[in-house]
């Protein structure tokens, strides 16, 4: 009896696996898919959960109203429904590859990238198949041809260039300011260690000291790395970190008396991967002086049309499950970009004849000054060879526990390959 039960269980599992491997009959109704690969487990889990929530909210909004946003007049075709399709890739290249093939077989015409490992694994494949994809990862590697992956915030070298611009502008010392990298141990974190970045810092008048690497999610405070900065008299530490790395790093720096207002004067500047709206509530005044470039406006600033829209969608669709993570804004920008690409492509080609390459060429590449309600630093513009959607970098600083906008600097586009 026990053996028959086991055999039955094995049979059911086999059928489930086998059936899942066959492609679904895509596009039976007039449905277009948005979404793509998500990293709902792993270091980006919290960020991606917020991104997914935004995708789902935006799809519901467009399906119900057929509008693109409250401040826009364009309409999405009335006879087409949007559906969010996603799979968890665990931020692993190998998983992302099979997920991509599955979603492509299901009829997806565009894609999304969840982070650096996935971007590097898929970028050539996406180009071969003509898929356009907004990306949550923003390393300079995206600039390298082929360029069908798009960012809605500046790539990280441009983020850091803006911080360097700001810092040198308010430097009052008599010697050259000393700069070092304090970045995380991942492909994304290391991606700033390119000759162009060093050359730009030197051109601005910095003395480059070296690099210190911190684990993506540190299990012990990075005391050694911080002490190295202190011993080398570093004035500005630049890097790529996620909040899980930035928070323990800054806490330890404060304990060691390192900060813009502490005994040892040093400023820590990070890319948008460590957004201040997540950092600030967790750190409060302990994080005073921490600078982040390329981030989004905070979710409580409803004077910004895009933020007001985000809040309205959340109130409407899941009032009891409020998503307070700032990456909800990232998800909103991605969803807006994907739907805009589909809308533009549908103007050129009927639904039945739409292909990924058409969505790329007549959709993504034709996006000009997409008004995001000020969610992004500037309206988004893409094209062949232009994958960085914004032209400016917003720089914020934590002061007295509050996020203060320091200003907007132009994208320097220092990484050219």
């Amino acid at each position: 009896m026990a053996k028959s039960k086991l055999a039955l269980a094995a049979l059911v599992i086999t059928i489930l696996v086998a059936s899942s491997l066959f492609p679904a009959s895509a596009n039976a109704a007039k449905t277009l898919y948005i979404g793509g690969t998500m990293s709902l487990t792993g270091p980006y889990a919290e960020d991606t959960a917020a991104v997914l929530a935004a995708y789902e909210d935006y799809a519901k909004y467009v399906n119900e109203t057929k509008r693109m946003a409250p401040w826009r007049n364009e309409k999405f075709p009335a006879n087409i429904t949007l559906e969010v399709l996603w799979r968890d890739d665990e931020l692993k290249a190998a998983k992302a590859l099979t997920i991509y093939e599955e979603l492509k077989a299901k009829g997806m015409l565009l894609y999304r990238i969840s982070g650096t490992p996935v971007a590097l694994a898929l970028k050539d494949r996406l180009n071969e198949d003509g898929f356009g994809a907004p990306s949550m990862g923003g390393g300079p590697y995206l600039i390298t041809p082929p360029g069908t992956i798009f960012t809605y915030y500046p790539i990280w070298t441009d983020d850091l260039a803006a911080i360097a611009d700001w810092f040198i502008g308010q430097w009052k010392g008599t010697r050259k300011p000393r700069v070092a990298y304090l970045t995380n141990d991942s492909g994304g974190g290391r991606s700033i260690e390119v000759p162009e970045m060093g050359a730009y810092l030197k051109k601005l008048g910095y003395e480059f000291v070296g690099s210190q690497i911190v684990p993506l999610v540190p299990t012990t405070p990075p005391t050694t790395q911080l002490m190295w900065l202190k011993e080398n008299k570093v004035d500005l530490a630049l890097g790529v970190m996620i909040n899980a790395g930035a928070q323990p790093t800054i806490k330890e720096a404060v304990r060691l008396g390192m900060g813009p207002h502490l005994d040892y004067k040093i400023t820590f500047g990070m890319t948008a991967s460590s957004p201040l709206p997540v950092f600030a509530p967790a750190m409060g005044e302990v994080g005073n002086g921490f600078v982040v470039a390329g981030s989004f406006p905070p979710l409580d600033d409803i004077s910004i049309p895009g933020i007001k829209f985000c809040n309205e969608l959340q109130k409407k669709y899941h009032p009891s499950k409020w998503v307070g993570h700032i990456q909800y804004v990232a998800g909103m920008l991605e969803a807006m970009t994907q739907v805009e690409a589909l809308r533009l492509a549908l103007q050129k080609m009927p639904f039945e004849k739409l292909t990924p390459r058409q969505v790329l060429e007549d959709g993504f590449y034709k996006i000009r000054n997409l008004d995001t309600g000020d969610l992004s630093a500037t309206p988004l513009t893409y094209g062949p060879g232009k994958i960085e959607g914004v032209d400016a970098v917003r720089v914020d600083q934590l002061q007295k526990g509050k996020i203060i906008k320091l200003g907007v600097w132009p994208c320097r586009h220092i990484y050219k390959r």
Partner: protein, 349 residues
């Protein structure tokens, strides 16, 4: 003279034969025909899954020789895959070599790296060896990141698809054939390595290294041989992986994958070539299943919780196998075969 009943092994050659009956040969040919006609009736997606399984099988065979047969537990296996991957990537992308000589070189360089990191295995074992192999992974990745001009550092390296003459293996089907051919060759080699003097020495070292040494087995030499062979397999698998991606990046070789490869070995059964295959196939398919089930479940529970199902399920499967079937699926397969061999005279244990 009585009627002969059953399969008799009357000499050493017959006793050592892998395929003993016509049925064995028939099943082998049927399987190979099925395998190599898959691209005719399977979609690109299934071919991608099967290609990834094929690469995992090659890698797990290496780990099985090192850990399953020789008892040298390695959690740095993916690091050696990275060595092979970058060797092939550099030779093809930077030096303009063809893929075909680059592939064995990838295996060779990974094997040499294995020899270097295997050196401590003479002095240390068990938990301490595990720590040494973990260190190997991080040292390798660190070196790759530092050698910016050679490896591309964090930017990685764009890698070309293999070519046969002017025919590039660009399609899913063509790469599937390549991987499956190498996986079959790797399986055949793995089976035969175990049947050699070295293979028997590996097993002796695994079961009791002191006794093995007393019997005259050179521990130093055989342990290093196991590291070399295991890492050659890893290097070849790594090279195949990056040529499939078309890009080499350190992010494609996360430390956790080494743990999952060990998990495949546990589920399949350590010290069994069939087990290595069963382990790779079953955990990869399980991975596919839970990836698909996650979004369905997200209609009931939070998306993040649903996605975590993959991690929980994989971990649970490994734990359940450790408790209820520590000898793995390979052993279960052996029992099923024995049951049918004796049928209809089978009996309960």
């Amino acid at each position: 003279m009585g009627l002969r009943c059953g399969t008799f092994r009357e000499n050493y050659a017959q006793d050592m034969a892998i395929f003993r009956t016509r049925l064995h040969w028939g099943v082998l040919f049927a399987f190979l025909i099925f395998l190599f006609t898959c691209p005719l009736f399977f979609s690109d997606r299934i071919l991608t899954v099967m290609t990834m399984i094929g690469i995992a099988i090659i890698s797990v065979h290496g780990l099985n020789i090192l850990t399953g047969y020789c008892g040298q537990i390695s959690i740095g296996h993916v690091g050696f895959m990275a060595v092979g991957a970058y060797t092939s990537a550099i030779l093809t992308a930077k030096l303009g070599w063809s893929f075909w000589p680059a592939l064995p070189c990838a295996g060779l360089v990974a094997g040499i790296a294995g020899l270097i990191f295997g050196l401590p295995s003479l002095k240390i074992k068990g938990f301490y060896l595990i720590m040494a192999t973990i260190a190997a992974h991080f040292i390798i990745i660190w070196l790759i990141l530092q050698l910016y001009n050679v490896t591309g550092g964090p930017d990685g390296l764009a890698v070309l698809k293999p070519k046969i003459g002017s025919f590039a293996l660009n399609s899913k089907a063509s790469y599937f054939y390549l991987v499956m051919a190498i996986a079959c060759l790797a399986t055949s080699l793995a089976i035969n390595i175990v049947r050699t003097r070295a293979g028997r020495a590996f097993v002796a070292i695994r079961d009791n290294d002191l006794a093995a040494e007393v019997m005259g087995i050179n521990l130093w030499s055989y342990k290093l041989q196991a590291f070399f062979i295991g890492c050659v397999y890893a290097g070849v698998a790594g090279a195949l992986l990056v040529h499939y991606y078309g890009f080499a990046s350190v992010d494609q070789f996360p430390f956790m994958d080494s743990v999952w490869y060990l998990g495949m070995l546990i589920v399949g059964g350590m010290g069994s070539t069939a087990g290595a295959i069963f382990g790779a196939v079953s955990l990869k398919l399980l991975d596919e299943l839970v990836t698909i089930v996650g979004p369905v479940l997200s209609k009931i529970v939070a998306a993040q919780a649903a996605a975590s199902l993959a991690l929980i399920t994989r971990g649970l499967v490994i734990i359940l196998f450790l408790i209820f079937e520590p000898r793995g699926l390979g052993h279960r397969w052996g029992m099923i075969k024995a049951y049918f061999r004796l049928w209809p005279f089978s009996h309960e244990e």
